[in-house]
Amino acid sequence: MKPEHYSERKVEIDGWPVNVASYQLEGKWHAKADNVSPGAALARIVAATREEAEQKALDRARELLSRTKRRGV
């Protein structure tokens, strides 16, 4: 089997750059969100549509990013 319709884009969530990649595999849509630097995975979701998978991944990313405390330097 082959992944199809691979796409990737950058969005900003609460000031954090986030990369969201998605593709279709055997009829299901896979989406992954990671923070651009360092690239650590924030969420990986499987859903029936690209929109649903990406939205759930971004929701989870937002939840994790909101917990990250920024300190004054």
Binding site: M1, K2, A21, S37, R71
Partner: protein, 291 residues
């Protein structure tokens, strides 16, 4: 010709597609996200989990030699096997595995340029069933650990005091400055934020293109050269737990041919938790100005 100092350690996705099931080749996926392999992987590839199979799970350390030998044997890898590593996040933990394989003297280990991301974006074949690797007929015999590839705390302290080596901090600018203690979503952390005094900030990802492949040799020379890194320089790379810095270690040693480069795998989770260790805060100075 790529112009890389050791371009024999890089293979393309095309090469892997043609050789992933060769008897003398073992393809191994090593991801940050240890579930990614199950979602689909290069046909014929096995997986190693960085957090259970590529470290000592009791003492904080790399794999002990005996466990490394056992992992190789179980994975069907002999001393003469060509091992090709790839993974997510532009080969973060593939580089970590590569570093350990070189510490234990494996001759022919390579990285798939672009990693998992490039394989997916090229819509190449995937398997979901785990590959069953029969154990090697002969037990794998590793060489004694080559610790010239690894930096420990005393060497880093010495380098900080005497400037005997260039310290390259490969974490994100926010981690370098002390704004955050660890990347969002990652649990390993520290008591203090900032960086080792005198360290230069070159986030690891700057060595990669958008498609996950490594930048050209000229681009890499410009990137690291701006921080004083030349083939004759002594360099210590560090990050948070040593995996991102193994990526930079790979770039410096194998793509640019820097002779004396080590990976400080204690990294910020060691330094940033040390009582009394000096810490510098704030953003990086512009290239060439780090003190």
């Amino acid at each position: 010709m790529s112009g890389y100092a050791h371009d024999e350690v890089l293979v393309s996705t095309d090469w892997v597609a043609s050789h992933s099931k060769d008897l003398k080749v073992r393809v191994v996926e090593v991801d940050v996200d240890t579930k990614a392999y199950d979602e689909g992987h290069v046909p014929g590839a096995i997986a190693w989990a960085w957090n259970t199979q590529l470290c000592d799970t009791v003492v904080r350390d790399i794999l002990p030699k005996a466990q490394f030998e056992a992992l190789m044997t179980q994975s069907g890898i002999g001393e003469d096997t060509t091992v090709v590593l790839y993974g997510d996040n532009n080969n973060w933990f593939a580089a970590w595995a590569f570093w350990q394989m070189k510490i234990y003297g494996h001759q022919d280990v390579r990285i798939m340029n672009g990693g998992r991301k490039k394989w997916l974006s090229e819509q190449r074949d995937l398997d979901t069933a785990p590959t069953v690797a029969g154990p090697s007929a002969q037990p794998y015999r590793a060489k004694d650990a080559d610790l010239s590839l690894r930096a420990f705390l005393p060497q880093v302290q010495q380098a900080m005091k005497t400037r005997s080596a260039i310290l390259i901090d490969v974490r994100s600018p926010q981690e370098f400055s002390g704004e955050i203690l660890a990347p969002p979503g990652l649990p390993e952390t520290c008591q203090r934020g900032g960086h080792i005094p005198g360290a230069h900030s070159v986030p690891w990802g700057k060595a990669c293109n958008e498609d996950g492949t490594f930048k050209t040799v000229d681009e890499l020379k410009a990137l690291y050269g701006a921080e004083g890194v030349t083939p004759g320089a002594s360099v210590i790379a560090y990050c948070r737990i040593g995996e991102r810095s193994s990526h930079t270690w790979f770039v410096l040693k194998y793509l640019l041919g820097v002779g004396n480069v080590t990976n400080y795998d204690g990294s910020w989770t060691e330094w940033g938790n040390l009582v009394g260790a000096p810490v510098e805060k704030g953003a990086a100075k512009s290239a060439g100005q780090a003190s």
